[in-house]
Amino acid sequence: MKITFERSGGFTGLRLAAEIELAMLAESEFGRLSQLVGDSGFFDLPEQILSKERQPDRFSYRLTVAEDGRTHTVEVDEEAVPEKLAPLIGWLTEKVGPKDISR
């Protein structure tokens, strides 16, 4: 499984972007991340989850998960993140460090 995670916007406008190959992770991280992807029901989420009225300085996310020959991309506004997707975004935000900030 491969996850691509991008975050843009926010007051600072600093962009976060990372590609995570799950096979390269330590076993505990592999297990946790696989579980978070599963719990989010990722492949059943709509491609766009947008807020009706954008709140100034909120983040925007774009996540892509590739697994067993299928790929799904979800664009989601921070203020519209579904409850079951929030833990995955939280984990990825923590995991993606300063080295992954790029423009």
């Binding site: 916007g9 406008g13 100034p56 900030i101």
Partner: protein
């Protein structure tokens, strides 16, 4: 206009994402031990005073709305925002960012988003979105200049000076005087803001680059204010404020903003006068008008 009354409330979100959190300081209440609480309280109060004494504005909605702020939102949250009814601040991750209440202009920026929502209502996408961002930087910077009693010539025109930790090579987050030069650092990269239309960001991230392209109208404001001289909030700021409140529609483009601010400058300070000319030159130098 009757004088307004300042009312503030600060909440502690306690690292959760539920808003507003627990009420920890109200208008007239004593300082607490938590610095972020006192910063949100004090600086939102200064922004109220600035807008009231300079432009006769009674709070965010012009009708004395209470200024609500929540601090300690989320865990290591490296952001601040306006959620449509209140200001919200994160503590920063501590590696790249310090807490967001520590900068006067950040607080002013967020509160100004509330004013924009109640006035021009600039749509948060593309050019109107970049203008929305720019108005917040303008009034955030003017708040800092007003508090420090700095002329346009003396001000640093930086947004978020002190927001980065010492590990980051940065003067600030954005520079209105020289967009694209606020930071250049091995960890976070380079300031991407364009000073001129020739470098306009066309991508779809960040609602069409609202925090990137804001550099161009920011610079137009700086150029106008620097050419006029003196305190920037007195003339350039007044022109931008009047345009925001009375003239700009929600879908405004940069060129519309250029036309409107030039017209307002003429009405307020004399047609064909020095202020109008400075405003026109500002927009011309950044490539918005020919």
């Amino acid at each position: 206009m009757p004088p307004g009354r300042k009312r503030r409330a600060v909440y502690d979100a306690g690292s959760a994402r539920q808003l507003p959190g627990v009420l920890v300081r109200e208008e007239g209440g004593r300082a607490v031990r938590d610095r972020a609480v006192n910063e949100a309280y004090n600086t939102s109060g200064r922004m109220y005073d600035f807008m009231s004494r300079t432009y006769g504005r009674n709070s965010i909605d012009g009708r004395g709305m209470r200024l609500d702020s929540s601090v300690h939102f989320g865990v290591r949250y490296d952001n601040a925002f306006w959620n449509g009814s209140q200001m919200v601040y994160g503590d920063g991750d501590g590696r790249i960012f310090n807490r967001f209440t520590g900068c006067i202009d950040v607080v002013g920026h967020e509160l100004a988003h509330g004013i924009t929502q109640h006035e021009a209502g600039l749509r948060y996408q593309g050019q109107p979105g970049a203008l929305n961002e720019s108005f917040s930087d303008v009034f955030g910077s003017l708040l800092k200049q007003w508090v420090k009693k700095e002329s346009a010539a003396r001000a640093d025109w930086l947004i978020g000076a002190g927001l980065f930790t010492r590990r980051i090579k940065a003067a600030g987050l954005r520079s209105m005087k020289a967009p694209g030069t606020a930071y250049d650092d091995p960890i976070i990269g380079r300031d991407p803001q364009p000073a001129h239309m020739k470098d306009y960001y066309e991508g779809d991230e960040d609602n069409g680059g609202v925090h990137i392209n804001s550099g161009t109208p920011n610079h137009a404001f700086y150029l106008a204010a620097a050419a006029i001289g003196g305190y920037a909030w007195e003339k350039a700021g007044r022109v931008w404020y009047a345009a925001l409140c009375d003239r700009l529609p929600p879908e405004s483009s940069f060129s519309q903003a250029a036309r409107v601010t030039a017209a307002v400058a003429g009405e307020l300070f004399g047609r064909g006068g020095r202020v109008e000319q400075a405003v026109k030159n500002g927009w011309k130098q950044v490539g918005v008008t020919g």
